[in-house]
């Protein structure tokens, strides 16, 4: 049995997103396993980023349920009970269920602990690398500063928390190899470093699920390999599961445990990388042939 069926972290059920008459995502269901790197792939315009925006609260899906689990897996049994209540989340000792489709975007990150990066990098370019990582720890620091009041008075509790936040930023600077550029504005970094910084910034929110929208776009093969190492490290060391959209097959096939393929908003394949790679429907979607010709094309590709 696959891990995403056995120990799912995130469950999408019957997700549909319509923009006027356009159906961007059509009745999509899949789950992402805890500790897995799940890749969401598909041709351009397949609706991948829309799915991401639904998960992270930037879009409200037209229909469907997106549920995320914290803690023990048993809590899934209470999903229907939680859905029946009007609450956005159900939290009890050692476990929690979050109904992401009901949450506004900032709560998805603040409470459900789902962090994301963007297809076109969204760093705070006028702030330094270090400041970018500190802004990401906003909610923790806000509590420590007694919602600014205690911080303004300069109480030691806040100063300790601030020191800890800088230590955490240093830890991530070390991981992404940007320690020397900590005091430079983020907008001055080369493209590859900006991609890494955006991932580190998302990780500073201590997520359980990290959603990466095309993290390897525009990277050279060497940077791509570094990114693979970084993502595998995040899964091993930090125990954060990853959901990523990617076109770069070297990244997808090398690091992911589970691949979901979308085409025209519908799921066409779902499984381990090897299974998906050989799925005739996927080959057809990517090469653009009709179903009857698939076998011929497949033979050609494999030979």
């Amino acid at each position: 049995m696959n891990r995403w069926e056995e120990k799912p972290l995130l469950k999408l059920e019957h997700l549909t997103m319509r923009f006027g008459g356009l159906v961007a995502v059509n009745d999509l269901s899949f789950s992402a396993g805890e500790g897995d790197i799940t890749a969401l792939i598909g041709p351009n315009g397949a609706g991948k980023t829309t799915v991401f925006n639904c998960i992270t609260g930037f879009y409200k899906p037209t229909e469907g349920r997106i549920a995320l689990r914290h803690g023990e897996a048993k809590v899934w049994d209470e999903l229907d009970a939680a859905t029946a209540r009007p609450d956005r989340r159900m939290v009890r000792a050692g476990a929690g269920l979050y109904l992401l489709e009901r949450m506004p975007d900032f709560e998805v990150s603040a409470h459900a602990k789902v962090a994301r990066t963007f297809q076109n990098i969204r760093l705070f370019s006028g702030m330094t690398v270090l400041e970018n990582l500190l802004v990401a720890q906003h909610n923790a620091l806000m509590t420590a500063s007694g919602f600014t009041v205690l911080g303004l008075l300069g109480l030691p509790a806040y100063r300790k928390a601030e020191k800890a936040s800088i230590e955490k930023a240093k830890y991530w600077l070390d991981r992404i190899d940007l320690m020397d550029r900590a005091d430079d504005p983020a907008g001055d970094l080369p493209y590859g470093a900006q991609r890494r910084l955006e991932i580190a910034r998302a990780m500073c929110t201590e997520p359980v699920l990290l959603c990466l929208d095309e993290p390897a776009a525009g990277l050279n093969p060497r940077e791509s390999a570094d990114l693979n190492a970084l993502l595998l490290g995040i899964r091993e060391k930090d125990g954060t599961s990853i959901l990523l959209i990617e076109h770069d097959m070297s990244v997808v096939m090398e690091i992911s445990d589970h691949v979901v393929v979308l085409d025209y908003g519908t799921k066409i394949s779902d499984g381990k990388p090897d299974f998906v790679r050989n799925d005739p429907k996927v080959i057809a979607a990517y090469l653009g042939v009709s179903d009857e010709e698939v076998e011929a094309v497949e033979a050609e590709v494999l030979s």
């Binding site: 975007d105 705070f124 400041e131 802004v135 600014t148 800088i166």
Partner: protein
């Protein structure tokens, strides 16, 4: 000529400098030979007689030769250092002050030197602003002006050599100057004449500095374009005026109360409108400012309408009023009564309020909420993806900015003793916004410089009476304020589109605090 001297590590070619100075002297001799060397005088029988004045000519040419030589050696001789300063990021505070020092130094030196020349030549510049009036002898006037010229040269040299460390002292030095300003004004302009300087310049500029710093939180840090800031100023002013008159509460109770009321109005306005962005937010805040004013105009029972509110109680020094009674400040301290005590008291009051605004802004920037404001200005969507509640963050910025506007408003009505809706028109909002934008969004020093230039410049225009001698008696320079204001705005926006001080200082650093160029800092669209 190989006699090169090392000054500050750079070589200056003395020979070349001397040659250049002599050439300038020759040109001056040719130009001034006729203008100053010759004078036509009417003798007793009304005949024009040509008088030759070699001494005056020699003095003028001498000043030009020496001046040119000094400039060559100390200013232009340092071309390499100048280039280095340009190559390094000089857009910041340091570069700004360097240029300011250079400019002021050149102007002071030139005016003093030219006036010395004129006086020696027998005349004087009409209404010299720096020449002391009265019956002083020519010798002492020239001495004073020579000192002024020397001061100018020192300023130029200082501007050229200013280091980061010297720039770090600018803040304390500026506060020291502001604290000493009333004393300087009294020493400089006398007991009676200083009133104008402390009131029209000191207090007036500080009110705008404070308003600029308050609006800077909203526009400069959080990136929310607020065109109706004067509404909060009005709320503060009317809160003080009405509560003090109706309930007889003291200034010290009403000051925080006015701030809280303004912040409250900020939140009331903020809740519905802060989901708007950019132009839409600007329009709604503009409308809000006008609504407040219209209510004040039309709700006559409440606010007195156009007639406004007069007889507003003046602030007291812990219960001691500033009046001519036996209980008054002057009588208590055994001084002769003078209105200047109240003015000085008000000056220090607004200085403290303004410094409080600056202090809170500086501290807030290092708090998580302050960083969130700046992050919000940079990229709102990224903020939301990091779990920052953008509505609350915007509201805090809006409320805090409004609170300082309310403080300034209650000070304003306490100082004036009379308020009416006329004081809270859109043009006030525009001027405060202009101060923030010209100063460089987010920069406290920039706001001060812009307020001094815009508000102080306006006041100076009233003083330029000597222009009447040039353009005739009907000429009123104050009428051209709008024109000059607009033109200077256009010039500054062309020359420095991101404001006078366009760099951003990071709020945290690991090894060194590097300033961030304004090109990378976003302006905010919501």
């Amino acid at each position: 000529m190989a006699n090169e001297t090392q000054t500050g590590g750079r070589s200056v070619d003395i020979g070349h400098a001397a040659k250049d100075a002599l050439l300038a002297g020759l040109i001056a001799l040719g130009l001034f030979g006729v203008f100053i060397g010759l004078q036509t005088v009417q003798d007793i029988s009304n005949r024009l007689v040509l008088k030759v004045r070699p001494e005056a000519l020699a003095v003028i040419v001498g000043i030009i030769v020496v001046g040119r030589f000094l400039l060559n050696v100390f200013v232009w001789g340092r071309e390499p250092s100048h280039k280095a300063a340009v190559a390094s990021p000089s857009g910041g505070l340091l570069g700004m002050f360097k240029r300011l020092c250079f400019l002021v130094g050149v102007v002071v030196t030139l005016v003093a030197v030219v006036d010395i020349g004129f006086r020696l030549a027998g005349g004087a510049l009409p209404n010299m602003p720096i020449s002391p009036p009265g019956t002083m002898g020519l010798g002492s006037i020239i001495l004073i002006e020579a000192v002024a010229a020397l001061f100018g040269v020192v300023l130029i040299a200082f501007g050229q050599n200013m280091t980061e460390r010297a720039a770090a002292l600018l803040g304390p030095a500026g506060i020291g100057f502001l604290a000493a300003f009333p004393i300087i004004a009294i020493l400089g302009a006398g007991w009676g004449g200083s009133l104008k300087w402390i009131d029209n310049f000191g207090i007036q500029i500080l009110i705008y500095v404070m308003l600029g710093w308050g609006l800077n939180i909203v526009v400069g840090l959080a990136g929310l374009l607020d065109l109706g800031y004067v509404a909060f100023y009005a709320v503060g002013a009317y809160s003080y005026a009405l509560l003090a008159k109706e309930f007889g509460l003291s200034f010290w109770i009403l000051l925080p109360l006015a701030g809280i009321l303004s912040a409250f109005w900020g939140i009331i306005l903020g809740f519905p409108v802060l989901r708007l962005r950019g132009d839409y937010l600007a329009i709604v805040t503009l409308a809000f400012g006008e609504i407040i004013r219209m209510v004040l105009v039309n709700w006559v029972d409440f606010s007195g309408g156009y007639a406004g509110i007069s007889g507003i109680p003046r602030p007291t020094l812990f219960g001691i009023p500033f009046n001519a009674t036996d209980e008054g400040f002057a009588a208590r301290f055994g001084l002769e009564f003078s209105p200047i005590y109240r003015t000085i008291f008000l000056y220090y009051l607004i200085l403290c309020l303004a410094l409080l605004t600056a202090f809170v802004t500086v501290r807030m920037r290092r708090m998580p909420v302050g960083r969130a404001w700046e992050a919000l200005r940079e990229d709102e969507i990224a903020c939301r993806s990091l779990g920052i509640n953008t509505t609350n963050t915007k509201l805090t910025a809006f409320a805090l900015g409004a609170m300082f506007g309310g403080f300034a408003g209650s000070f304003f009505s306490a100082r004036q003793g009379f308020i009416s809706p006329e004081s809270f028109t859109f043009i006030e909002s525009a001027q405060i916004l202009a101060i923030v934008v010209l100063g460089g969004m987010g920069s406290l020093y920039g706001v001060v410089i812009a307020a001094v230039v815009l508000v102080g410049g306006f006041e100076i225009m009233r003083e330029l009476d000597f222009l009447k001698q040039i353009f005739g008696n009907d000429f009123d320079p104050a009428l051209y304020r709008g024109l000059i204001f607009g033109a200077s705005m256009v010039v500054i926006m062309l020359w420095k589109p991101r404001g006078l001080i366009s760099t951003r200082t990071p709020t945290a650093f690991l090894k060194e605090r590097k300033t961030v160029s304004g090109d990378l800092v976003k302006e905010g669209h919501g």
